[in-house]
C-alpha cells in the first residue's frame, strides 16, 4: 500500500465468502490510482468478478451476505457502505460480462437513459447524456433499436454506453472481450483506449491486458499474488502456469 495518495479505489484486506461456503476473496489488498488502467487477471474462480461486484457495493450490501465480509473498500474516499451507495454506484460504472443481462429495457435509448433517470436528472439532461454516451461508443442513431436485434459486439458497446451516461469516475468491466470476433474485439479495445479514465478490467484475455493496461494484477484464490507492468507479469510463464493462466 504505497500510493494511497491519489488512489481512487482502495481495497484493504478484503475477504468474502459466498453463502454456499465458497471463499472468493481472501485478504485482498489493492490500490488503484486515478486514470490508471488495471488488468485483473486470474483463472476462473480467482475472485475477479466478485471483486468487481464489491466495487459498487452490490455484494456485501445486499441481504444476509453482509456478515460474510471482512476488510473494507474505499471509492473516491467514500467507504462502501449503505449510506454512500448512491454516490458510489454513480461513480463506479459496472459493465457486466453478458450484455443481455445489462440491457433490460425495450429500446437502447431507454437503457442508456435508465441510470440518469434513476438519478432524477431533468429530461433534457438525460437526452443529452444519452446522445453523448451513444456517440462515445460509436452507435449514434441506435436509440430506437431493440437490444435483441443487435450483434453481440454492438450489445457490448451499448452496455458500456449505459454506464457512461452516469458519468462514472471508474469503469469496471468484466470480461469485455469475451465472445467477440477478432474485429469487434479490436474495435472494443480501441474504444476502451479512447474512453480513457480509470478502468478496471477483469479478463483472461491476456493480450487485451498487455495492449491496454498500465498494470496487471494477478489474482489467485482470492489473493493478489503478483502485480506489475503487464509485460513483466505476462512474460513470467512459470508464474502464469502456477496460477492456471498458461
Amino acid at each position: 500500500m504505497t500510493q494511497l495518495n491519489g488512489a481512487v479505489v482502495i481495497v484493504e484486506a478484503l475477504s468474502f465468502t459466498y453463502p454456499d461456503g465458497q471463499r472468493a476473496l481472501d485478504g485482498l489488498n489493492l490500490a488503484i490510482r486515478d486514470g490508471e488502467k488495471v488488468g485483473l487477471i486470474g483463472a476462473n474462480g480467482a475472485g475477479k468478478s466478485t471483486l468487481l461486484l464489491h466495487l459498487n457495493g452490490i455484494l456485501p450490501c445486499s441481504g444476509p451476505s453482509t456478515s460474510l465480509r471482512a476488510g473494507g473498500i474505499r471509492v473516491l474516499g467514500m467507504k462502501v457502505e449503505k449510506a454512500n451507495l448512491k454516490a458510489i454506484r454513480q461513480s463506479v460504472g459496472l459493465v457486466f460480462q453478458n450484455p443481455d443481462d445489462q440491457l433490460f429495457c425495450p429500446t437502447v435509448g431507454d437503457d442508456v437513459a435508465f441510470g440518469p433517470r434513476q438519478l432524477r436528472l431533468p429530461e433534457a439532461e438525460v437526452a443529452a447524456r444519452v446522445e453523448m454516451s451513444l456517440a462515445a461508443v460509436g452507435l449514434r442513431d441506435f436509440e430506437a433499436r431493440s437490444a435483441f436485434h443487435m450483434s453481440f459486439g454492438e450489445k457490448k458497446r451499448v452496455a458500456i454506453a449505459t454506464v457512461l451516461s452516469m458519468n462514472p469516475k471508474v469503469l469496471a468491466l468484466d470480461e469485455p472481450t469475451s465472445n467477440l470476433d477478432p474485429r469487434s474485439r479490436k474495435e472494443l479495445i480501441r474504444l476502451l483506449r479512447q474512453l480513457g479514465g480509470t478502468q478496471i478490467i477483469a479478463s483472461h484475455d491476456l493480450d487485451l491486458v498487455k495492449t491496454l493496461c498500465d498494470r496487471a494484477v494477478l489474482l489467485s484464490k482470492g489473493k493478489a499474488v503478483a502485480e506489475g507492468a503487464p509485460e513483466k507479469i505476462l512474460s513470467d510463464t512459470a508464474l502464469l502456469e502456477a496460477h492456471g493462466l498458461e
Binding site: 461486484l53 443481462d101 429500446t107 431507454d110 437513459a113 435508465f114 434513476q118
Partner: protein, 252 residues
C-alpha cells in the same frame, strides 16, 4: 437467431402509425367496451364498428394477409366456445342435443353475439399492436396510468422472451446432437429436466438483470421519462372515434 417481431409492421409509415399510442389505446379500448355492451340485435351498430376497423386497416397500410393470419390464431378458440353455444338454453344450463338435436331459437343469436364481439376485440388488438411499436405501446399504457408493475412485467417479457426462446433452442440442439431417441417415458423425463433447467437459468438471469439494475441506481422504482404532449390531430382522432362509437351505441 432471427425471430418474427411481435410488432413486425409497427415501423410502417401511415396516418395510423403516426397517432400517439395513448390515443390508439383509448380508441380501441373504447371500441371493445362499447361493442361488448351493444345488444346483438343492433346489427347496424356492429356494421359501424366493422366499418371503423376496415377504415383503420386500410389507412394503416398493413398487409391484409398479416391481419388475417394474426386473427386466425385466435379464431379457433372463439369457434370452440361458440360451437357449444347453440346448445345452451337461454336460461343457462346445457342440453347436449342427444335425443332432441334441435337448436334453440336464441342459439344463433348467441353465436352471432360472441362471434361479432370477439371479432371486434381481436381486430382491435391486432390493429393496435401492429401499428404501435411495443415500447411506445408500453409507454402509452404507463402514461394512461395503467399499473406500473404490470407495464414493467410486460416490458421485461417483451425484452426477454426471445432470449428465452434462444436458450430453449440451444438446449434442444444440444439434446439432439447427443442422439435423442428411445422410449416415450425417456422423452418425458428429458423434457421435464430441460424445463427445469430452463427455469433455473431464467431465474439466475433474472438475478443478474436485477444486479445490473441495482448497479445503475435502481431502488425499487423505475423513473419514467417526462410526458410528451398529444398533438391536435391526436385529440381530434380520440374525440371523433369515441364519439362515433357512442353515437352508434346510443342509436342501437
Amino acid at each position: 437467431m432471427k425471430h418474427a417481431f411481435l410488432d413486425q409492421y409497427a415501423a410502417l409509415e401511415s396516418p395510423v402509425h403516426r397517432l400517439d399510442a395513448r390515443v390508439k389505446i383509448i380508441a380501441f379500448l373504447a371500441l371493445i367496451v362499447i361493442s361488448v355492451s351493444t345488444p346483438p340485435q343492433a346489427w347496424r351498430a356492429f356494421l359501424g364498428y366493422g366499418a371503423f376497423l376496415a377504415v383503420m386497416a386500410a389507412a394503416s397500410h398493413l398487409p391484409i394477409g398479416h391481419i388475417l393470419r394474426r386473427a386466425w390464431i385466435i379464431v379457433p378458440f372463439v369457434l370452440m366456445v361458440a360451437i357449444f353455444i347453440p346448445f345452451m338454453k337461454t336460461g343457462g344450463g346445457y342440453s347436449l342435443g342427444i335425443g332432441s338435436p334441435g337448436v334453440s331459437r336464441s342459439g344463433p343469436m348467441i353465436f352471432w353475439n360472441v362471434a361479432a364481439k370477439s371479432g371486434v376485440a381481436i381486430l382491435s388488438a391486432i390493429l393496435l399492436s401492429s401499428t404501435t411499436p411495443f415500447p411506445s405501446l408500453m409507454r402509452g399504457f404507463e402514461r394512461l396510468k395503467a399499473p406500473r408493475l404490470m407495464v414493467m412485467l410486460a416490458s421485461f417479457a417483451y425484452r426477454y422472451i426471445f432470449v428465452l426462446v434462444d436458450e430453449a433452442e440451444r438446449m434442444e440442439r444440444a439434446r439432439d446432437s447427443r442422439c435423442y431417441g428411445g422410449r416415450w417415458l425417456w422423452h418425458a423425463r428429458v423434457i421435464g429436466q430441460m424445463i427445469g433447467t430452463l427455469f433455473l437459468r431464467s431465474y439466475e438471469r433474472s438475478e443478474r438483470v436485477y444486479v445490473a439494475m441495482v448497479s445503475r441506481g435502481f431502488d425499487g422504482r423505475i423513473v419514467a421519462p417526462a410526458e410528451t404532449r398529444m398533438g391536435a390531430a391526436d385529440w381530434a382522432f380520440a374525440a371523433a372515434s369515441v364519439g362515433y362509437f357512442v353515437a352508434l351505441r346510443v342509436s342501437a
